[in-house]
Symmetry: C4
Amino acid sequence: MEVEIGKGKSGRRAWGFDDISIVPTRRTRDPEDVDLTWELDAFTFALPMMAAAMDSAVTPITAIEIGRLGGLATLNLEGLWTRYEDPTPIYDEIASLDSQKATRRMQEMYAAPVIPDLITQRVAEIKAADVIACGSFTPQTVSRYIDHAKAGGLDILVVQGTVVSAEHVSSREEPLDLNTFIRDVEMPVIIGGTASYPGALHLMRTGAVGILVGVGPGAACTTRGVLGIGVPQATAIADAAAARSAYLEETGRYVHIIADGGMRTGGDVSKAIALGADAVMIGSPIASASESPSHGYHWGMATFHPTLPRGSRVHTGTLGTIEEILVGPAYENDGRMNLFGGLRGSMATTGYATVKEFQKAEVMVAPALQTEGKQLQRSQGVGMG
Amino acid sequence: MEVEIGKGKSGRRAWGFDDISIVPTRRTRDPEDVDLTWELDAFTFALPMMAAAMDSAVTPITAIEIGRLGGLATLNLEGLWTRYEDPTPIYDEIASLDSQKATRRMQEMYAAPVIPDLITQRVAEIKAADVIACGSFTPQTVSRYIDHAKAGGLDILVVQGTVVSAEHVSSREEPLDLNTFIRDVEMPVIIGGTASYPGALHLMRTGAVGILVGVGPGAACTTRGVLGIGVPQATAIADAAAARSAYLEETGRYVHIIADGGMRTGGDVSKAIALGADAVMIGSPIASASESPSHGYHWGMATFHPTLPRGSRVHTGTLGTIEEILVGPAYENDGRMNLFGGLRGSMATTGYATVKEFQKAEVMVAPALQTEGKQLQRSQGVGMG
Amino acid sequence: MEVEIGKGKSGRRAWGFDDISIVPTRRTRDPEDVDLTWELDAFTFALPMMAAAMDSAVTPITAIEIGRLGGLATLNLEGLWTRYEDPTPIYDEIASLDSQKATRRMQEMYAAPVIPDLITQRVAEIKAADVIACGSFTPQTVSRYIDHAKAGGLDILVVQGTVVSAEHVSSREEPLDLNTFIRDVEMPVIIGGTASYPGALHLMRTGAVGILVGVGPGAACTTRGVLGIGVPQATAIADAAAARSAYLEETGRYVHIIADGGMRTGGDVSKAIALGADAVMIGSPIASASESPSHGYHWGMATFHPTLPRGSRVHTGTLGTIEEILVGPAYENDGRMNLFGGLRGSMATTGYATVKEFQKAEVMVAPALQTEGKQLQRSQGVGMG
Amino acid sequence: MEVEIGKGKSGRRAWGFDDISIVPTRRTRDPEDVDLTWELDAFTFALPMMAAAMDSAVTPITAIEIGRLGGLATLNLEGLWTRYEDPTPIYDEIASLDSQKATRRMQEMYAAPVIPDLITQRVAEIKAADVIACGSFTPQTVSRYIDHAKAGGLDILVVQGTVVSAEHVSSREEPLDLNTFIRDVEMPVIIGGTASYPGALHLMRTGAVGILVGVGPGAACTTRGVLGIGVPQATAIADAAAARSAYLEETGRYVHIIADGGMRTGGDVSKAIALGADAVMIGSPIASASESPSHGYHWGMATFHPTLPRGSRVHTGTLGTIEEILVGPAYENDGRMNLFGGLRGSMATTGYATVKEFQKAEVMVAPALQTEGKQLQRSQGVGMG
């Protein structure tokens, strides 16, 4: 669907979650008969979800609770928990900052150095609770710190930035050779973000077990404002799913698509799967859980870049426990609680039995703004790298 | 009109009421010469309308008034009127609840058990006024309660849920066999909701005399937020009308399309017919009548689902009497009063004589948001099942 | 450009003024060399404009001022000026009414009977100032009152309703035979509204010298809400222009297209011409002139229909004199003053010399909502009949 | 992509910055390896940018600072600095004016005569700081004043109006022959605005080294409201880039495309280049610098036209120093600071090394309004001529 922008330029038409809805079929199914299981490499999860490596969402405590409920939480191993022995006062100060001054003060907080031993310690804290431990680094630092993470018992590694490519060019320093690194690291690696068919395909060829799909998908993620870059999430997921099929055809290996960002409700989670994702990665819903030490604030890894910050500290409020947010019960009706009850209900209402089958659901292009005559308020997204 | 969402997924473009307008023809007609009669099975109604089985709209009292004016009201036979001997204090409490606590408290109210004898009694109250009695059950409960409704003299049965399919799959319990049930129940059955061509076609094959078309069409119906599911109502109606033609061709039987949800004004009612509906089902306009005991609040059957509520208690205010709302006169000019005067005026202005002819009216795709540069405020819809 | 709405229905895509912009060419022109003259039948006007037959805009006084400036004002000959000897206190009361009660009270005011002698008197007042006199009736009443208008010296007759068709069907009363009436009335007749190609073509065949194009074009004209009927004005004008060409080809007679409604700025006026109109009919800009007795309020002929009111009394404020509004100078920069200076500037900037040439200007589909990221506030339109 | 507006008119679909986003590739690049250099004629600039000839943005002082940072500032040689010996009190008064009275008072201020000696003096002030001096005139006055500008040492001339064409028609006065003027003026000339393929092509044929592309692109630039004229900037730039290719093919001469107007963030700047621009011209970002004497207000050259003002005095606030705004560091995350850090980051994230390469970046049509469900607030643009 190429559109002529002007005589010198054309572009594909792209679509976001709010543009999409899922279409009922001729069949319905008992919600009890819906299977949400997600199998990634040798691991099986009750819920097809990851929690994002954002300090406002994932801490050793919330990681354990998410693991207990059947999800997979990613701890940012270059965030507050590895820069501060006790980050609690930092969380308290962040929640108390004036909006005017928050960005500048948080630029300072994140300038504190990473303490390698804390990497080992944080991973070990999660492992001690008998929960699968997952942590993230940027491509720039992962070689330096990976052994510290291994020492704590890390099970799954995430290598992440706003955009991570299989072909990074630099005249200053030798970039990480992803293929070699992943082959040698001795644990499953999930890598991202990416948001294009060729980008996804090349990341699959690095040997990763999963890729994170999403660049600037959130409503207020400012990557689009600051850099002009972004792919609406519905298109990004569908493109990545097509790359998954092409790569499977090519190699026989199935690489998981994890939709990363822009999901706030059970409806959004359902759409991500219906568009082709294997699982979703969510941040702000977890930041709004009562177990988060962020006091109802949310921010991401790119929020406090020293010279070009993207994303901001946003107030999400406190909605309920992690359990209520992930699997209910909900006491509100806006879709922000019981996200995976929503997914289960969506699959039941359209008659699908498994996540893999639900990827084939029929969807429509039905812009919410157009059909509902109102603005949807979405949580402010926060960039990653 | 298939649109590529991404390389792995395409979908049809869908449209809602606000995207559509009716086009004048070369002919006009005297409003007095417009015939709004609706014939359903052996029944004839002066107005092509049903009132929705929502406690905020249909009570034994309002059902009688709507019947007197020529419409058909559906009493929810699993709602407040069959759970409480005297629901008046419940209505009063609902109207007085804090917004924060309304959902949770109403989850409790609707947890009270259905009292089968009240089913018989409520139907009998309507029949005693010499009005056609129509009541609704969900597919899960209709077998259990139908004899109580028959004992009261029920004339028309509605079997209803958010999505009802002709093919419900469950490993826990034997689902209702709709074909057998409808063949044996000895009264006309209207069934829904549905919102797709195959869904509509399969419901027609159950033997129903009418189907309810609409899944998440309302502006603020939260089914789309909670489940991601929804079909904009203009597309849903047009698809169902095509299924009606195909089924008529196949069997010689004409099944009525009742557009359910998302209509707030005479313009919306007119568009529903012009898009192919035989009649409309409305809820919030009746909830805003002075005869409703809801004190200007409105809610639906899915609003208080115990673990995954959808839709909410919304304030519609009190607009006028049921008579003023349905057939005028109007003292306001926003289309929310004299709904069927609006339909009559629309048919007169475009020169059509009967509802059946008006289904062939020319319409345009003319998004209100785009052409009017403003947001339309629509009543918050409330889901059904 | 047929769009599939659903399997049973398709419709054309339609566009409004806010969706359109005029494209610069390779040429520019001195504004002094732009000719705005409009020739209609035997009359020549310095400005290609009519003032709408709305009591808030056209009075005998403002009609004379508009005529002096080179435009053509239409007095509503069934409005306040022919129902009341002195309507001044009525204007004062209208401006003082509570919003809640305005519609109901104005329904009463407009229920006062038309006094035929006042028709003659009002037309004569305009003629006495040596200005071309133009007045309007509805098709239902024009036969009854036309001789009274002739007695006052009426020059140009407007026959007007929300939609006027050449084929009105009524079993109650013999409809006006437009062809015979226009042939016999002995003055040029302008007729409308219409908003479709066949509607326009059939009105041209009645012998009218001009047709009014526009049904529900205004942003807040409630015809679309109340009746569901409306054609966005850009499409309506372009369709009518095509009908003009076809009719010219068929008969050699050129019938003028007067774009009626939805224009608030010089940009809107320019677009109407660029889309094919010969002249524009404006209401609310004149209601906001200091010479209007409406105290900055505006309403139309359908606003106070006894059972189905459409349009409302809206507050436009007072902007400047009629002269400043029509030909400047402007002291504001939002395009609402110096409307025809705006048209002149638009023609100069794109290099066109005459109104007839400017009808061929290149336009783009460039939705303001999409490209500007903001909502445009437009005056609330008011329906005619 | 021709769209039928109505039976009598079609138009191309056009797109603005908010409709566009840049797509990641399979490659990323170290920001340090990104080259932003812009070569224009014999001049080399560190940043591909011009500052617009608006009194609120460019003064002799800010021109020098912009030059020092590697950009090119255009002083309006018919603005406050050549009408007043000391314009400081004028700036102060403008900032203090009531919104209601600002336009009228500023019409008076700009009615003061241009003092030719001040032209020479202002240019000389810039030259004295060893910075490349660039100034602008309108086509109507450039012949009269050019020698005064030359006397001060002007390096680059801008000839500018809302729309400047190579073919201006006037019966009153002989228009400027651009080809002859540019051949004889003995310095590089940049000319505009234009916003169409043929308009751009004909301006290139005048011999200009660069053309300004943009007519009414800003969100609140009122040219579209006042005149109905405007081309959304993404389409305008892409069309002009196509004209550049055609002209290069035809003559072997490369004429620069400078995107003029509508850019507020680093993302907008990035999109302008990705759509084909060689450089950008910005106004309001500079007006919001602490070095501007405008006290956080912004206005343009057409704002105070004596009879048809377009654009308005808008409040932009004070954001930071010119250095922070152009090259950072940023302490806010909305993209309004560190504009060229944003461009650098955008090129790095998508793997491009030079501005010329980045013109080939893949873009998508992804309307922000549609995908973000929110309104973007953009600075109010101000027209030029």
